[in-house]
């Protein structure tokens, strides 16, 4: 039986592209939110779930971080990196000079700001809830319109690509994670993601934790903070380290760090995706 995978939809999203890249033979199901994907995996409705976690321009996808922090039972089994390309889509035959409205998801619009300001400074923008909703809305618009959308959305909705790769920076890439009920067995080249917080606030606690990793030459590939949701100024720290949670050195450092922190949660160990 094919593996079932929940992904952040709707069809045509970058996450669908990532899920297809991860396992082209799987049975994909679209879900409307990151927390819905998580619920699908946690309840066994699907075997796995694919969600975005970090974009090279925009930074972290906070919904995914909050999910990893607060949702019990879900682990990261894989990561994958997808270059992000935005295209300008129109109904077949539409001419540039006739475009009177532009449909776009606000984040994608932000990533194509220069293109928009140069080519369509006067065209009003209508916000869409996703990168394929923008294309759907454009296709059903009465009159001449354009949408910022994906390659996949152009196929699904039979739209024409009028301009390719319109994003401001060519280095735009998104990291996705595959969620499951188990993480990955050790390979030669792994990463482990975790978070922790402190029950008291005094100078240098974060530094003391990082010191433990530094002294064992465990490389940190990411350090970031999220509000604890209890109030401004209270943080949960999220870090990615090189190594597997079953490695002896890693296990030893984790034991020390656990004793120094209030909350401590491992999100899983998984093979490192080459950048």
């Amino acid at each position: 039986m094919a593996t079932t995978i929940a992904y952040l939809g709707p069809p045509g999203s970058f996450t669908e592209q990532a899920a297809l890249l991860y396992d082209g033979d799987s049975e994909l199901s679209s879900f409307p939110s990151i927390s819905a994907v998580a619920a699908a995996v946690a309840t066994g409705m699907t075997d796995k779930g694919v969600v975005p976690i970090e974009n090279s321009l925009e930074g972290s996808v906070t919904d995914t971080l909050d999910l990893l922090i607060h949702e019990p039972g879900l682990l990261i089994q894989h990561e994958l990196v997808l270059p992000i390309e935005h295209h300008l889509l129109v109904k077949p035959g539409t001419r540039v000079q006739d475009i009177e409205v532009l449909y776009a998801h606000p984040q994608s619009l932000a990533q194509c700001r220069e293109f928009r300001e140069r080519c369509f400074p006067q065209v009003p923008v209508v916000a869409a809830l996703s990168n394929s909703a923008s294309v759907q809305q454009m296709m059903s618009h009465q009159g001449q319109a354009a949408a910022i959308g994906t390659q996949r959305a152009s196929v699904l909705y039979e739209a024409e690509i009028l301009a390719r790769s319109i994003q401001d920076r060519s280095s735009n890439a998104t990291r996705f994670i595959v969620l499951a009920l188990t993480d990955h067995k050790p390979t030669e080249c792994d990463k482990t993601s975790l978070c922790f917080s402190f029950s008291e606030d005094h100078p240098g606690l974060l530094y003391k934790v990082l010191k433990e990793f530094a002294e064992c030459s465990i490389n940190l590939t990411k350090v970031e903070s999220r509000p604890s949701k209890e109030g401004l100024g209270e943080y949960i720290f999220l870090i990615d380290i090189e190594g597997h949670r079953e490695d002896k050195t890693v296990t030893e450092v984790f034991e020390k760090v656990k004793s120094m922190t209030g909350m401590f949660k491992i999100f899983g160990s998984y093979p490192r995706c080459p950048l």
Copy 2:
């Protein structure tokens, strides 16, 4: 002559409320984006500018962080904290059971998710570009609609507040900063914001920087990382410390940290706003 202040508009936004709180006698001008507010201050069009920097639920406002990192000449002169309250606005006389569409900015919608799922599970949502655009669109909607909006927007657009304080968490607050060409003189209780990055990547560099602060008992009130925009896995670290950049201890630590980092930029020193 009254101080002129640029703020992230449109009128009715939380940032307008923050600007009014900061200086009720000033002359306010609305700008459509965070970078437009920055440009207004940098070019002398206005004396100051007010933008949001951090929300207790959503985390940092990345546009503001990127601006502080990349824009030369702008400094933080003040900070202020505003409790964030979302209300459900309607045209006067509209009844709950008649509402057929809900206008909302996606971030505000996310902050009112539980309310929406309980009270309006079947009502379609239309994305708006801001918390007052949602109210404007609702008021001009043909038929019965509602909008998630602010107290100020209800006054500006003469909308009725049907439900008050509909956000999921009562601890929702946003920190705003006042940008100017100079920062603030030392007071008894200051904060300094800065960022740095490393020109090479090896284990423990961040830890070595934090160690310098910890050893001088300088408290960090925020630590966070942003993608450098050069590619996934390269970061710029942003920290807030207690103290003024003219304090002797702070100056000495900064000199040491400068020698350890590639890029090092001070965003300004300013009085701490009590949380």
